[in-house]
């Protein structure tokens, strides 16, 4: 006999999102089967508790949709169930689960932090993250564990690295924004000769930048990710390949193909603007030798983000 476990009558409160969401019907036999696959007995995880965790994960995945039971079953079956059960048990305060987490995941968390800053400068981020996983807020008060944000769609390891990396990037950004401008020990700008601006050159630079912008925008998303990771972020071919699930030789080939596509697109634009073959070659070389404010990372950004960035740059310029 199949018993349908209804987690809530109409709406279900999900603390993770601080909102009421429609409940999902999950077959109890399915929950028990998944609990067995997740090795939930190891943590003495109850079916009800695990059902709540699965429902929270599915509710989030299918927010605003009306999935069929087979969709839900397929989704739940694709989760990293053992990791999800471990996270669920840790959030519930199971000591054995915590021991397992500390033994298997915590050292890696600290190694990740050390990989980001060799001098241990990112260790405090790992400490803070570990505390939040335990349910300690910044003020030291006990609260809901950060594990509530883990829904099993990735491995627990990758999720921990993602949270740590997200915080690290945001911290670096806030540090850079807070850095004071360097002391201007040089001669007064008034006493310096005004830079000689060549209007023709500036126009050519803007033309190339516009053409490059459009060429980058026309590339498939994966090409832009590859270009961004390799050129803007400075990853190696091997690191880029691991990130995208490609062999490094493939990354190299695809980068060459993307560069060619960019070159052809820019050439086409410049030809359409009336530049001769020689002028196009000169423009390419000129901007390569002195790229000025050419910024591929900014060009790769979506238009609306780019506008925000431009606005901020302008603001900073005014200040």
């Amino acid at each position: 006999m199949i018993v349908t476990l209804r987690l809530a009558q109409v709406l279900q409160y999900t603390p993770a999102h601080n909102s009421w969401r429609p409940s999902l019907d999950i077959d109890s036999a399915l929950v028990e089967r998944l609990l067995r696959r997740a090795d939930g007995e190891r943590w003495r995880l109850s079916t009800e508790r695990f059902a709540e965790t699965l429902a929270a994960s599915a509710s989030r995945a299918f927010a605003g949709k009306n999935p069929g039971s087979s969709d839900i079953e397929s989704y739940l079956g694709s989760l990293h169930l053992k990791d999800l059960a471990l996270a669920c048990a840790c959030a519930a305060g199971n000591e054995d689960a915590w021991e397992c987490f500390v033994r298997e995941h915590r050292p890696g968390l600290y190694r990740s932090a050390d990989a980001l800053e060799a001098g241990g400068g990112a260790r405090d981020l790992a400490d803070s993250l570990y505390g939040e996983l335990f349910g300690l807020s910044v003020s030291g008060h006990q609260g809901p564990s950060l594990f509530r944000h883990y829904h099993g769609r990735s491995s627990l390891t990758t999720w921990l690295r993602a949270v740590l990396s997200q915080r690290y990037v945001d911290r670096m950004r806030s540090r850079k924004r807070a850095d004071p401008l360097p002391d201007d020990e040089g001669p007064s700008p008034l006493s310096m000769p005004a830079p000689t601006l060549d209007p023709d050159r500036e126009q050519r630079r803007r033309g190339i930048e516009r053409a490059l912008d459009r060429a980058l925008a026309a590339l498939p998303a994966q090409d832009r990710v590859r270009l961004g990771c390799y050129y803007a972020e400075g990853l190696t071919l091997a690191q880029t390949g691991r990130l995208l699930g490609e062999h490094e030789a493939t990354v190299s080939r695809q980068l060459a193909r993307a560069r060619k596509a960019i070159r052809v697109a820019v050439e086409r634009e410049l030809r359409a603007a009336g530049l001769s073959r020689q002028q196009i070659s000169e423009s390419f070389t000129e901007i390569a030798q002195d790229p000025g404010r050419l910024d591929v990372r900014r060009l790769l950004d979506e238009p609306e983000r780019k506008e925000e960035t431009d606005d901020r740059s302008n603001d900073q310029g005014v200040r």
Partner: protein, 348 residues
């Protein structure tokens, strides 16, 4: 051609121009939350969810920076994938070990037939030992990490060739630079000279052969891409290039299990110690139910397959490189294509 090359080089220089927008990586509403980012990196997202995530990362400097940061932590923090780590450890050591072994063999073979040389500093470089090569490799990697983008791609492509070339040059130098003792009888000199030349030529050939062997081992080491765990910790599978191997002693020793196919294998899943599924390019699907013999299954489309999940010898789901899913419940005799669920991206 020269014009095209020059313009290609110019494009590369534009791309390598350092960014000035480090401080502008502001988060937006659309930024991927940590779990979606992790799922995208783990290749766990499918269909529209994967495309949406990728499209966002492609146009978001902050999410690219986060993805790159995760990638930078991988080599050091990959603590939950012992099978992949083991593969990389082997790769790390096989190169210096191979080089050291080649040096040892060449020196041992060359020395008995050539008179012992007087130590003359500055005339003869000592062969690099294993730790020196390993240290040099580490230094190169450290330098690579510090190096700006300029020249990195070419450097990386040359790295494998250089490693083998280093072994070759070391061996060659040792082989062709033997010294005759100063007190050797004059009459014996021409014969000794001929012998030395012959020995040098033979040593050169051996050195070249050794270098070729090192390159072959290097290629083999580089080809280790897929390790597949089974529920039984003692039984594991791995794909080395186009070769499939199985271990029944937790990876201590490996036995080739011929598949009879040459297409590239891209992924695998083992639902038990004896049942393993493999997928690859051109609609390749292989199944073994006894751990020794492979059966090629008919797949409905000759498309590249990238992921497989299997629960037993009958039930499996295959994801194509284009993100579509096909399932079988009868061991691959029939396949059902189904539209993937869309998993929306949200921020917590």
């Amino acid at each position: 051609m020269s014009e095209t090359r020059d313009r290609d080089a110019a494009v590369e220089q534009w791309l390598r121009h350092p960014s000035a927008t480090d401080a502008d990586l502001a988060p937006s509403e659309e930024c991927l939350d940590a779990e979606t980012m992790a799922a995208w990196i783990d290749k766990s997202l499918a269909g529209a969810a994967r495309r949406d995530a990728e499209a966002h990362v492609a146009g978001c400097a902050r999410c690219q920076a986060i993805a790159a940061t995760i990638a930078r932590t991988e080599a050091i923090a990959d603590w939950s994938a012992p099978e992949r780590r083991a593969g990389r450890r082997w790769l790390t050591w096989v190169i210096p070990l191979s080089a050291a072994a080649i040096v040892a063999v060449v020196v041992l073979v060359a020395r008995p037939v050539t008179p012992p040389a007087e130590p003359q500093s500055g005339l003869r470089s000592e062969p690099k030992n294993e730790s020196a090569l390993a240290k040099s490799d580490q230094q190169n990697r450290a330098a690579q990490a510090q190096k700006p983008a300029a020249g990195r791609e070419e450097d990386e492509k040359k790295a494998l060739r250089d490693k083998a070339a280093a072994a070759r040059s070391t061996d060659t130098f040792d082989a062709v630079a033997p010294k005759r003792p100063a007190a050797a009888p004059a009459a014996a000199a021409p014969a000794a000279g001929r012998a030395t030349n012959q020995n040098a030529a033979a040593s050169q050939a051996r050195a070249d052969e050794s270098a070729r062997t090192a390159e072959a081992r290097l290629r083999q080491a580089e080809a280790v891409e897929i390790d597949i765990r089974t529920p039984d910790p003692a039984v594991r599978w791995r794909i080395v290039g186009a070769r499939v191997e199985r271990s029944i002693d937790a990876g201590s020793s490996w036995t080739p299990v011929p598949t009879g196919v040459t297409a590239e294998i891209t992924a695998g899943a083992a639902s038990s110690a004896s049942v393993c599924w493999l997928v690859g390019r051109g609609g390749l699907v292989l199944l073994t139910t006894n751990g020794t013999a492979w059966q090629r299954l008919t797949f409905p489309e000759p498309t590249d397959l990238s992921v497989i999940r299997a629960t037993d010898a009958r039930n499996a789901t295959v994801t194509t490189a284009a993100g579509r899913e096909f399932s079988t419940t009868d061991g691959g005799r029939t396949w059902t294509r189904r539209d993937l669920q869309e998993i929306p991206t949200t921020t917590f």
